[in-house]
Symmetry: C2
Subunit: 275 residues, 2 copies
Protein backbone atom coordinates (compact mmCIF):
# COMPACT_ATOMS: atom_id res chain seq x y z
CA UNK A 1 0.00 0.00 0.00
CA UNK A 2 1.87 3.09 -1.16
CA UNK A 3 1.78 6.35 0.74
CA UNK A 4 0.78 9.43 -1.28
CA UNK A 5 1.29 12.93 0.15
CA UNK A 6 -1.09 15.76 -0.85
CA UNK A 7 -1.70 19.32 0.34
CA UNK A 8 -4.91 19.95 2.25
CA UNK A 9 -7.30 18.23 4.60
CA UNK A 10 -8.83 14.77 4.11
CA UNK A 11 -11.47 15.19 1.39
CA UNK A 12 -9.54 17.90 -0.50
CA UNK A 13 -9.69 17.81 -4.32
CA UNK A 14 -6.00 16.81 -4.27
CA UNK A 15 -6.88 13.70 -2.28
CA UNK A 16 -9.71 12.90 -4.73
CA UNK A 17 -7.13 13.17 -7.55
CA UNK A 18 -4.83 10.76 -5.68
CA UNK A 19 -7.55 8.11 -5.46
CA UNK A 20 -8.56 8.63 -9.09
CA UNK A 21 -4.97 8.28 -10.24
CA UNK A 22 -3.55 5.56 -7.98
CA UNK A 23 -6.77 3.64 -7.18
CA UNK A 24 -8.34 3.08 -3.77
CA UNK A 25 -5.53 0.87 -2.44
CA UNK A 26 -3.29 3.73 -1.22
CA UNK A 27 -2.70 5.53 2.07
CA UNK A 28 -3.08 9.29 1.60
CA UNK A 29 -0.98 11.59 3.80
CA UNK A 30 -2.41 15.11 4.27
CA UNK A 31 0.19 17.92 4.43
CA UNK A 32 -0.37 21.51 5.51
CA UNK A 33 1.61 23.16 2.70
CA UNK A 34 3.01 22.29 -0.75
CA UNK A 35 6.50 22.63 0.78
CA UNK A 36 5.55 19.87 3.22
CA UNK A 37 4.53 17.58 0.32
CA UNK A 38 7.93 18.03 -1.36
CA UNK A 39 9.75 17.57 1.96
CA UNK A 40 7.82 14.36 2.72
CA UNK A 41 8.80 12.89 -0.68
CA UNK A 42 12.42 14.00 -0.33
CA UNK A 43 12.69 12.52 3.17
CA UNK A 44 11.27 9.20 1.97
CA UNK A 45 8.30 9.47 4.36
CA UNK A 46 5.99 8.78 1.39
CA UNK A 47 6.57 7.03 -1.94
CA UNK A 48 5.09 9.83 -4.00
CA UNK A 49 3.55 13.31 -3.77
CA UNK A 50 0.69 14.65 -5.87
CA UNK A 51 0.52 18.43 -6.42
CA UNK A 52 -1.66 20.65 -8.65
CA UNK A 53 0.31 22.48 -11.34
CA UNK A 54 -2.38 24.29 -13.32
CA UNK A 55 -6.12 24.81 -13.53
CA UNK A 56 -8.07 25.48 -16.70
CA UNK A 57 -9.66 28.58 -15.13
CA UNK A 58 -6.97 29.74 -12.69
CA UNK A 59 -3.79 29.13 -14.69
CA UNK A 60 -0.40 27.82 -13.60
CA UNK A 61 0.48 27.38 -9.94
CA UNK A 62 3.88 29.09 -9.93
CA UNK A 63 4.56 28.07 -6.34
CA UNK A 64 4.75 24.41 -7.39
CA UNK A 65 7.00 25.19 -10.36
CA UNK A 66 9.29 26.98 -7.88
CA UNK A 67 9.31 23.92 -5.63
CA UNK A 68 10.04 21.61 -8.61
CA UNK A 69 13.03 23.85 -9.39
CA UNK A 70 14.24 23.92 -5.79
CA UNK A 71 14.07 20.14 -5.17
CA UNK A 72 15.72 17.33 -7.14
CA UNK A 73 12.59 15.25 -7.60
CA UNK A 74 11.16 13.93 -10.87
CA UNK A 75 7.71 14.19 -12.35
CA UNK A 76 6.59 10.59 -12.94
CA UNK A 77 2.92 11.06 -13.87
CA UNK A 78 0.25 13.62 -14.69
CA UNK A 79 -3.47 13.46 -13.89
CA UNK A 80 -6.30 15.71 -15.01
CA UNK A 81 -9.08 15.96 -12.42
CA UNK A 82 -12.43 17.30 -13.53
CA UNK A 83 -13.38 19.65 -10.66
CA UNK A 84 -16.97 18.83 -9.71
CA UNK A 85 -18.35 20.86 -6.82
CA UNK A 86 -21.09 19.55 -4.52
CA UNK A 87 -23.38 21.44 -2.15
CA UNK A 88 -23.09 19.49 1.09
CA UNK A 89 -25.33 19.69 4.16
CA UNK A 90 -26.27 17.69 7.25
CA UNK A 91 -27.90 14.28 6.76
CA UNK A 92 -31.63 14.97 6.44
CA UNK A 93 -31.18 18.60 5.40
CA UNK A 94 -33.04 19.87 2.31
CA UNK A 95 -31.92 22.40 -0.28
CA UNK A 96 -34.71 24.68 0.96
CA UNK A 97 -33.20 24.70 4.50
CA UNK A 98 -29.96 26.36 3.34
CA UNK A 99 -29.51 29.96 4.48
CA UNK A 100 -25.70 30.20 4.50
CA UNK A 101 -23.02 28.66 2.26
CA UNK A 102 -19.32 28.33 3.15
CA UNK A 103 -16.28 27.24 1.13
CA UNK A 104 -12.82 28.27 -0.03
CA UNK A 105 -13.22 31.52 -2.04
CA UNK A 106 -12.35 29.62 -5.23
CA UNK A 107 -15.19 27.15 -4.53
CA UNK A 108 -17.57 30.07 -3.95
CA UNK A 109 -16.39 31.87 -7.11
CA UNK A 110 -16.73 28.76 -9.29
CA UNK A 111 -20.35 28.14 -8.22
CA UNK A 112 -21.47 31.76 -7.89
CA UNK A 113 -24.11 31.71 -10.65
CA UNK A 114 -25.60 28.40 -9.56
CA UNK A 115 -25.89 29.57 -5.95
CA UNK A 116 -27.42 32.90 -6.98
CA UNK A 117 -30.01 31.14 -9.19
CA UNK A 118 -30.87 28.17 -6.92
CA UNK A 119 -30.45 29.76 -3.50
CA UNK A 120 -31.37 33.42 -3.95
CA UNK A 121 -30.53 35.61 -0.98
CA UNK A 122 -28.31 33.11 0.88
CA UNK A 123 -25.17 34.43 2.51
CA UNK A 124 -21.79 33.19 1.18
CA UNK A 125 -18.79 33.17 3.52
CA UNK A 126 -15.19 32.23 2.72
CA UNK A 127 -13.27 29.74 4.85
CA UNK A 128 -9.74 28.29 4.60
CA UNK A 129 -10.46 25.23 2.47
CA UNK A 130 -13.19 23.25 0.75
CA UNK A 131 -12.87 20.03 2.77
CA UNK A 132 -12.63 22.02 6.02
CA UNK A 133 -15.94 23.70 5.21
CA UNK A 134 -17.64 20.26 5.30
CA UNK A 135 -16.10 19.56 8.70
CA UNK A 136 -17.52 22.91 9.88
CA UNK A 137 -20.99 21.90 8.65
CA UNK A 138 -20.76 18.65 10.64
CA UNK A 139 -19.52 20.44 13.78
CA UNK A 140 -22.19 23.17 13.57
CA UNK A 141 -25.01 20.61 13.28
CA UNK A 142 -27.21 23.27 11.66
CA UNK A 143 -29.30 22.28 8.58
CA UNK A 144 -29.25 25.93 7.43
CA UNK A 145 -25.48 25.73 6.85
CA UNK A 146 -24.03 24.09 3.70
CA UNK A 147 -20.52 23.65 2.30
CA UNK A 148 -19.18 23.56 -1.27
CA UNK A 149 -16.59 20.81 -1.72
CA UNK A 150 -15.80 17.48 -3.40
CA UNK A 151 -18.02 14.37 -3.18
CA UNK A 152 -15.15 12.76 -1.29
CA UNK A 153 -15.32 15.43 1.45
CA UNK A 154 -19.00 14.54 2.01
CA UNK A 155 -18.01 10.87 2.38
CA UNK A 156 -15.12 11.63 4.76
CA UNK A 157 -17.38 13.55 7.17
CA UNK A 158 -20.55 11.49 6.65
CA UNK A 159 -22.45 14.48 5.29
CA UNK A 160 -25.24 14.64 2.70
CA UNK A 161 -24.94 15.82 -0.91
CA UNK A 162 -27.73 18.31 -1.62
CA UNK A 163 -26.65 18.96 -5.22
CA UNK A 164 -23.77 17.78 -7.42
CA UNK A 165 -22.01 19.31 -10.43
CA UNK A 166 -22.91 22.85 -9.37
CA UNK A 167 -19.81 24.45 -10.95
CA UNK A 168 -20.71 27.24 -13.41
CA UNK A 169 -18.09 26.22 -15.97
CA UNK A 170 -17.92 22.52 -16.89
CA UNK A 171 -14.46 23.04 -18.46
CA UNK A 172 -12.94 23.11 -14.99
CA UNK A 173 -9.93 20.80 -14.86
CA UNK A 174 -6.96 20.74 -12.53
CA UNK A 175 -3.79 19.08 -13.74
CA UNK A 176 -1.82 17.25 -11.04
CA UNK A 177 1.77 16.00 -11.16
CA UNK A 178 3.11 12.98 -9.29
CA UNK A 179 6.63 13.56 -7.92
CA UNK A 180 9.12 10.94 -6.79
CA UNK A 181 12.80 10.88 -5.90
CA UNK A 182 13.71 8.72 -8.91
CA UNK A 183 12.86 8.98 -12.59
CA UNK A 184 10.72 6.24 -14.16
CA UNK A 185 11.16 6.68 -17.92
CA UNK A 186 7.98 5.85 -19.84
CA UNK A 187 8.14 4.22 -23.24
CA UNK A 188 4.61 4.71 -24.64
CA UNK A 189 2.71 7.95 -25.31
CA UNK A 190 4.53 10.38 -23.02
CA UNK A 191 5.27 14.00 -22.21
CA UNK A 192 8.44 15.65 -20.93
CA UNK A 193 8.36 18.85 -18.84
CA UNK A 194 11.19 21.38 -18.87
CA UNK A 195 12.11 24.80 -17.54
CA UNK A 196 14.70 26.96 -19.28
CA UNK A 197 15.97 30.50 -19.68
CA UNK A 198 17.49 32.08 -22.78
CA UNK A 199 19.42 35.32 -23.19
CA UNK A 200 16.84 38.04 -23.68
CA UNK A 201 17.04 39.24 -27.25
CA UNK A 202 14.64 39.23 -30.20
CA UNK A 203 14.27 35.74 -31.64
CA UNK A 204 15.88 33.89 -28.73
CA UNK A 205 12.73 31.93 -27.83
CA UNK A 206 12.17 31.20 -31.52
CA UNK A 207 15.67 29.73 -31.77
CA UNK A 208 15.08 27.66 -28.63
CA UNK A 209 11.83 26.24 -30.03
CA UNK A 210 13.54 25.35 -33.30
CA UNK A 211 15.16 22.37 -31.54
CA UNK A 212 11.67 20.85 -31.29
CA UNK A 213 10.14 22.15 -34.54
CA UNK A 214 13.03 20.83 -36.66
CA UNK A 215 12.41 17.38 -35.19
CA UNK A 216 8.59 17.52 -35.46
CA UNK A 217 8.29 17.35 -31.68
CA UNK A 218 4.93 18.71 -30.56
CA UNK A 219 4.47 21.22 -27.71
CA UNK A 220 1.51 20.85 -25.33
CA UNK A 221 2.32 23.82 -23.10
CA UNK A 222 4.41 26.95 -23.21
CA UNK A 223 4.46 29.78 -20.71
CA UNK A 224 6.85 32.63 -20.02
CA UNK A 225 7.32 33.81 -16.48
CA UNK A 226 9.22 36.94 -15.48
CA UNK A 227 12.25 35.92 -13.41
CA UNK A 228 12.07 37.28 -9.84
CA UNK A 229 14.66 40.00 -9.29
CA UNK A 230 15.61 40.11 -12.99
CA UNK A 231 13.33 42.61 -14.73
CA UNK A 232 12.79 41.61 -18.37
CA UNK A 233 14.30 38.16 -17.99
CA UNK A 234 12.10 35.12 -18.29
CA UNK A 235 11.78 31.51 -17.36
CA UNK A 236 9.96 29.35 -19.89
CA UNK A 237 7.85 26.37 -18.89
CA UNK A 238 7.50 23.96 -21.80
CA UNK A 239 5.89 20.51 -22.10
CA UNK A 240 6.73 18.46 -25.17
CA UNK A 241 5.27 15.21 -26.49
CA UNK A 242 7.75 12.34 -26.10
CA UNK A 243 9.93 10.68 -23.46
CA UNK A 244 13.62 11.07 -22.65
CA UNK A 245 13.81 7.36 -23.48
CA UNK A 246 13.46 8.38 -27.16
CA UNK A 247 16.60 9.32 -29.13
CA UNK A 248 14.97 12.22 -30.92
CA UNK A 249 13.81 13.81 -27.63
CA UNK A 250 17.25 13.30 -26.08
CA UNK A 251 18.93 14.95 -29.07
CA UNK A 252 16.50 17.87 -28.95
CA UNK A 253 17.22 18.38 -25.24
CA UNK A 254 20.99 18.21 -25.85
CA UNK A 255 20.57 20.77 -28.59
CA UNK A 256 18.52 23.04 -26.29
CA UNK A 257 21.12 22.68 -23.51
CA UNK A 258 23.76 24.09 -25.91
CA UNK A 259 21.67 27.17 -26.52
CA UNK A 260 19.79 27.82 -23.24
CA UNK A 261 21.38 29.80 -20.40
CA UNK A 262 19.73 27.34 -17.98
CA UNK A 263 17.84 24.09 -18.66
CA UNK A 264 16.20 21.77 -16.18
CA UNK A 265 14.32 18.65 -17.29
CA UNK A 266 11.64 17.99 -14.68
CA UNK A 267 10.70 14.51 -15.88
CA UNK A 268 9.12 12.30 -18.54
CA UNK A 269 5.81 10.60 -17.77
CA UNK A 270 2.87 8.85 -19.47
CA UNK A 271 0.40 11.22 -21.06
CA UNK A 272 -3.03 11.46 -19.43
CA UNK A 273 -6.06 12.67 -21.38
CA UNK A 274 -8.72 14.63 -19.47
CA UNK A 275 -11.84 12.48 -19.01
Amino acid sequence: MIKVAFQGEPGAFSEAAAFEHFGSDIATVPCETFDDVFAAVEAGMVAVGLVPIENSLGGSIHRNYDLLMRHSLSITAEHYLRVRHCLIGLPGAQLSDVKRVISHPQGLAQTEHWVRAQLPGVQSDPVHDTAGSVRMVRDAGDPALAAIASRRAADVYGMHILAEGIEDDAANYTRFLAIRPEQILPTGDAKTSLVFTVRHQPGSLFKALSVFALRDIDLTKIESRPLAGHAFEYLFYVDIVGSQSSDVVRRALDHLAEYAAMLRVLGSYPRHAPA
Copy 2:
Protein backbone atom coordinates in the same frame (compact mmCIF):
# COMPACT_ATOMS: atom_id res chain seq x y z
CA MET B 1 -12.16 64.43 -14.08
CA ILE B 2 -12.28 61.05 -15.80
CA LYS B 3 -14.21 58.14 -14.36
CA VAL B 4 -12.24 54.91 -13.90
CA ALA B 5 -14.05 51.62 -13.16
CA PHE B 6 -12.31 48.92 -11.08
CA GLN B 7 -13.39 45.64 -9.46
CA GLY B 8 -13.61 45.63 -5.68
CA GLU B 9 -14.42 47.90 -2.78
CA PRO B 10 -12.96 51.38 -2.19
CA GLY B 11 -9.39 50.82 -1.01
CA ALA B 12 -8.86 47.68 -3.15
CA PHE B 13 -5.43 47.19 -4.75
CA SER B 14 -7.10 47.82 -8.14
CA GLU B 15 -8.15 51.28 -6.94
CA ALA B 16 -4.61 51.95 -5.68
CA ALA B 17 -3.35 51.01 -9.17
CA ALA B 18 -5.86 53.44 -10.74
CA PHE B 19 -4.56 56.36 -8.64
CA GLU B 20 -0.92 55.39 -9.31
CA HIS B 21 -1.55 55.21 -13.03
CA PHE B 22 -3.96 58.09 -13.69
CA GLY B 23 -3.01 60.42 -10.79
CA SER B 24 -5.23 61.63 -7.97
CA ASP B 25 -7.52 63.74 -10.17
CA ILE B 26 -9.87 60.90 -11.17
CA ALA B 27 -13.22 59.58 -9.93
CA THR B 28 -12.96 55.85 -9.23
CA VAL B 29 -16.08 53.71 -9.74
CA PRO B 30 -16.14 50.44 -7.74
CA CYS B 31 -17.75 47.47 -9.50
CA GLU B 32 -18.75 44.14 -7.97
CA THR B 33 -17.34 41.90 -10.73
CA PHE B 34 -14.88 42.11 -13.64
CA ASP B 35 -17.89 41.67 -15.97
CA ASP B 36 -19.36 44.84 -14.47
CA VAL B 37 -16.12 46.76 -15.22
CA PHE B 38 -16.25 45.73 -18.89
CA ALA B 39 -19.99 46.52 -19.07
CA ALA B 40 -19.47 49.98 -17.53
CA VAL B 41 -16.80 50.82 -20.15
CA GLU B 42 -18.89 49.43 -23.00
CA ALA B 43 -21.98 51.38 -21.89
CA GLY B 44 -19.97 54.63 -21.69
CA MET B 45 -20.71 55.00 -17.97
CA VAL B 46 -16.96 55.44 -17.38
CA ALA B 47 -14.14 56.60 -19.65
CA VAL B 48 -11.88 53.69 -18.84
CA GLY B 49 -11.68 50.45 -16.85
CA LEU B 50 -8.61 49.07 -15.07
CA VAL B 51 -8.39 45.28 -14.59
CA PRO B 52 -5.62 42.97 -13.34
CA ILE B 53 -4.33 40.56 -16.01
CA GLU B 54 -1.47 38.74 -14.25
CA ASN B 55 0.40 38.56 -10.98
CA SER B 56 4.04 37.59 -10.57
CA LEU B 57 3.11 34.94 -8.00
CA GLY B 58 -0.39 33.92 -9.08
CA GLY B 59 -0.07 33.90 -12.88
CA SER B 60 -2.48 35.05 -15.58
CA ILE B 61 -6.07 35.94 -14.78
CA HIS B 62 -7.80 33.93 -17.51
CA ARG B 63 -11.20 35.41 -16.65
CA ASN B 64 -10.04 38.85 -17.85
CA TYR B 65 -8.53 37.41 -21.04
CA ASP B 66 -11.94 35.81 -21.67
CA LEU B 67 -13.66 39.16 -21.13
CA LEU B 68 -11.19 40.91 -23.46
CA MET B 69 -12.08 38.33 -26.11
CA ARG B 70 -15.81 38.68 -25.55
CA HIS B 71 -15.95 42.50 -25.68
CA SER B 72 -14.76 44.83 -28.47
CA LEU B 73 -12.69 47.09 -26.22
CA SER B 74 -9.03 48.04 -26.64
CA ILE B 75 -6.14 47.89 -24.23
CA THR B 76 -4.78 51.45 -24.06
CA ALA B 77 -2.29 51.19 -21.17
CA GLU B 78 -0.54 48.79 -18.80
CA HIS B 79 0.49 49.43 -15.20
CA TYR B 80 2.61 47.31 -12.86
CA LEU B 81 1.58 47.71 -9.21
CA ARG B 82 3.99 46.55 -6.55
CA VAL B 83 1.69 44.77 -4.07
CA ARG B 84 2.60 46.09 -0.60
CA HIS B 85 0.51 44.64 2.21
CA CYS B 86 -0.12 46.54 5.46
CA LEU B 87 -1.32 45.27 8.82
CA ILE B 88 -4.15 47.65 9.72
CA GLY B 89 -5.83 48.14 13.10
CA LEU B 90 -7.94 50.66 14.99
CA PRO B 91 -6.45 54.10 15.70
CA GLY B 92 -4.53 53.73 18.96
CA ALA B 93 -4.14 49.95 18.64
CA GLN B 94 -0.66 48.41 19.08
CA LEU B 95 0.88 45.42 17.33
CA SER B 96 0.86 43.61 20.70
CA ASP B 97 -2.96 44.00 20.95
CA VAL B 98 -3.57 41.88 17.83
CA LYS B 99 -5.12 38.46 18.49
CA ARG B 100 -6.91 37.87 15.16
CA VAL B 101 -6.04 38.79 11.58
CA ILE B 102 -8.50 38.90 8.66
CA SER B 103 -8.04 39.39 4.91
CA HIS B 104 -8.71 37.85 1.52
CA PRO B 105 -7.05 34.40 1.46
CA GLN B 106 -4.47 35.72 -1.02
CA GLY B 107 -3.54 38.50 1.41
CA LEU B 108 -3.21 35.93 4.20
CA ALA B 109 -1.15 33.57 2.03
CA GLN B 110 1.23 36.33 0.88
CA THR B 111 2.02 37.46 4.46
CA GLU B 112 1.92 34.05 6.16
CA HIS B 113 5.57 33.93 7.24
CA TRP B 114 5.61 37.50 8.53
CA VAL B 115 2.45 36.92 10.58
CA ARG B 116 3.75 33.63 11.98
CA ALA B 117 7.06 35.26 13.01
CA GLN B 118 5.74 38.59 14.32
CA LEU B 119 2.37 37.53 15.73
CA PRO B 120 2.87 33.93 16.90
CA GLY B 121 -0.36 32.17 17.80
CA VAL B 122 -2.79 34.71 16.32
CA GLN B 123 -5.80 33.36 14.47
CA SER B 124 -6.08 34.06 10.70
CA ASP B 125 -9.51 34.15 9.10
CA PRO B 126 -10.39 34.59 5.43
CA VAL B 127 -12.94 37.20 4.32
CA HIS B 128 -14.22 38.24 0.87
CA ASP B 129 -11.71 41.01 0.09
CA THR B 130 -8.77 42.95 1.43
CA ALA B 131 -10.40 46.39 1.55
CA GLY B 132 -13.56 44.92 3.09
CA SER B 133 -11.46 43.45 5.91
CA VAL B 134 -10.44 47.01 6.91
CA ARG B 135 -14.09 48.08 6.97
CA MET B 136 -14.79 45.10 9.25
CA VAL B 137 -12.00 46.22 11.62
CA ARG B 138 -13.56 49.69 11.79
CA ASP B 139 -17.06 48.30 12.39
CA ALA B 140 -15.90 45.84 15.07
CA GLY B 141 -14.11 48.60 17.05
CA ASP B 142 -11.90 45.93 18.65
CA PRO B 143 -8.12 46.63 18.98
CA ALA B 144 -7.47 42.86 18.97
CA LEU B 145 -8.69 42.60 15.35
CA ALA B 146 -6.41 43.61 12.44
CA ALA B 147 -6.77 43.50 8.64
CA ILE B 148 -4.24 42.91 5.84
CA ALA B 149 -4.79 45.30 2.94
CA SER B 150 -3.38 48.25 0.98
CA ARG B 151 -2.25 51.55 2.56
CA ARG B 152 -5.09 53.15 0.62
CA ALA B 153 -7.68 50.96 2.41
CA ALA B 154 -6.40 52.27 5.77
CA ASP B 155 -6.84 55.86 4.48
CA VAL B 156 -10.34 55.17 3.12
CA TYR B 157 -11.60 53.88 6.49
CA GLY B 158 -9.50 56.15 8.75
CA MET B 159 -7.69 53.16 10.26
CA HIS B 160 -4.13 52.87 11.59
CA ILE B 161 -1.17 51.13 9.88
CA LEU B 162 0.51 48.83 12.43
CA ALA B 163 3.13 47.55 9.95
CA GLU B 164 3.82 48.11 6.26
CA GLY B 165 5.54 45.97 3.58
CA ILE B 166 4.70 42.73 5.40
CA GLU B 167 4.51 40.62 2.20
CA ASP B 168 6.84 37.59 2.32
CA ASP B 169 7.98 37.97 -1.29
CA ALA B 170 9.03 41.44 -2.44
CA ALA B 171 8.77 40.36 -6.09
CA ASN B 172 5.00 40.66 -5.86
CA TYR B 173 3.68 42.67 -8.82
CA THR B 174 0.27 42.80 -10.40
CA ARG B 175 0.00 43.96 -13.99
CA PHE B 176 -3.13 45.97 -14.79
CA LEU B 177 -4.58 46.84 -18.20
CA ALA B 178 -6.58 49.97 -18.99
CA ILE B 179 -9.48 49.27 -21.38
CA ARG B 180 -11.40 51.79 -23.45
CA PRO B 181 -13.91 51.63 -26.31
CA GLU B 182 -11.48 53.22 -28.80
CA GLN B 183 -7.86 52.49 -29.66
CA ILE B 184 -5.24 55.16 -28.90
CA LEU B 185 -2.19 54.12 -30.91
CA PRO B 186 1.08 54.94 -29.10
CA THR B 187 4.16 56.03 -31.03
CA GLY B 188 7.01 55.67 -28.48
CA ASP B 189 8.16 52.53 -26.64
CA ALA B 190 5.09 50.32 -26.82
CA LYS B 191 3.69 46.81 -26.56
CA THR B 192 0.93 45.08 -28.51
CA SER B 193 -1.16 42.26 -27.02
CA LEU B 194 -2.68 39.50 -29.13
CA VAL B 195 -4.58 36.25 -28.83
CA PHE B 196 -4.47 33.63 -31.57
CA THR B 197 -5.04 29.97 -32.34
CA VAL B 198 -3.18 27.81 -34.84
CA ARG B 199 -4.01 24.38 -36.21
CA HIS B 200 -2.62 21.84 -33.77
CA GLN B 201 0.34 20.11 -35.37
CA PRO B 202 4.06 19.92 -34.61
CA GLY B 203 5.81 23.17 -35.46
CA SER B 204 2.65 25.27 -35.83
CA LEU B 205 3.53 27.63 -32.96
CA PHE B 206 7.09 27.85 -34.25
CA LYS B 207 5.81 28.95 -37.67
CA ALA B 208 3.49 31.50 -36.03
CA LEU B 209 6.37 32.98 -34.02
CA SER B 210 8.53 33.21 -37.14
CA VAL B 211 6.50 36.27 -38.23
CA PHE B 212 8.05 38.11 -35.27
CA ALA B 213 11.51 36.49 -35.20
CA LEU B 214 12.14 37.19 -38.90
CA ARG B 215 11.44 40.88 -38.22
CA ASP B 216 13.45 41.06 -34.96
CA ILE B 217 10.28 41.81 -33.00
CA ASP B 218 10.77 40.96 -29.33
CA LEU B 219 8.25 38.96 -27.25
CA THR B 220 7.59 39.94 -23.62
CA LYS B 221 4.98 37.29 -22.88
CA ILE B 222 3.81 33.99 -24.30
CA GLU B 223 1.34 31.59 -22.79
CA SER B 224 -0.64 28.66 -24.15
CA ARG B 225 -4.09 27.97 -22.79
CA PRO B 226 -6.15 24.88 -23.54
CA LEU B 227 -9.29 25.93 -25.43
CA ALA B 228 -12.46 25.14 -23.45
CA GLY B 229 -14.41 22.32 -25.08
CA HIS B 230 -11.61 21.53 -27.56
CA ALA B 231 -9.25 19.02 -25.99
CA PHE B 232 -5.71 19.51 -27.30
CA GLU B 233 -6.45 22.85 -28.96
CA TYR B 234 -4.85 25.97 -27.61
CA LEU B 235 -5.19 29.71 -27.46
CA PHE B 236 -1.93 31.61 -27.33
CA TYR B 237 -1.55 34.89 -25.45
CA VAL B 238 1.40 36.87 -26.82
CA ASP B 239 2.72 40.37 -26.07
CA ILE B 240 5.20 41.84 -28.52
CA VAL B 241 7.35 44.98 -28.33
CA GLY B 242 6.10 47.64 -30.76
CA SER B 243 2.92 49.45 -31.73
CA GLN B 244 0.42 48.86 -34.54
CA SER B 245 1.41 52.36 -35.66
CA SER B 246 4.71 50.84 -36.87
CA ASP B 247 4.86 49.33 -40.38
CA VAL B 248 6.94 46.35 -39.32
CA VAL B 249 4.47 45.38 -36.57
CA ARG B 250 1.52 45.80 -38.96
CA ARG B 251 3.22 43.59 -41.53
CA ALA B 252 4.00 40.94 -38.90
CA LEU B 253 0.35 40.93 -37.79
CA ASP B 254 -0.87 40.67 -41.41
CA HIS B 255 1.51 37.77 -41.89
CA LEU B 256 0.25 36.07 -38.71
CA ALA B 257 -3.39 36.61 -39.78
CA GLU B 258 -2.64 34.62 -42.96
CA TYR B 259 -1.39 31.68 -40.93
CA ALA B 260 -3.46 31.70 -37.70
CA ALA B 261 -6.87 30.04 -37.51
CA MET B 262 -8.00 32.99 -35.34
CA LEU B 263 -6.22 36.24 -34.48
CA ARG B 264 -7.43 39.05 -32.28
CA VAL B 265 -5.27 42.14 -31.60
CA LEU B 266 -6.27 43.42 -28.16
CA GLY B 267 -4.46 46.76 -28.40
CA SER B 268 -1.17 48.69 -28.54
CA TYR B 269 -0.16 50.79 -25.54
CA PRO B 270 2.86 52.52 -23.99
CA ARG B 271 5.21 50.18 -22.17
CA HIS B 272 5.35 50.50 -18.38
CA ALA B 273 8.37 49.33 -16.41
CA PRO B 274 7.77 47.93 -12.89
CA ALA B 275 8.99 50.43 -10.27
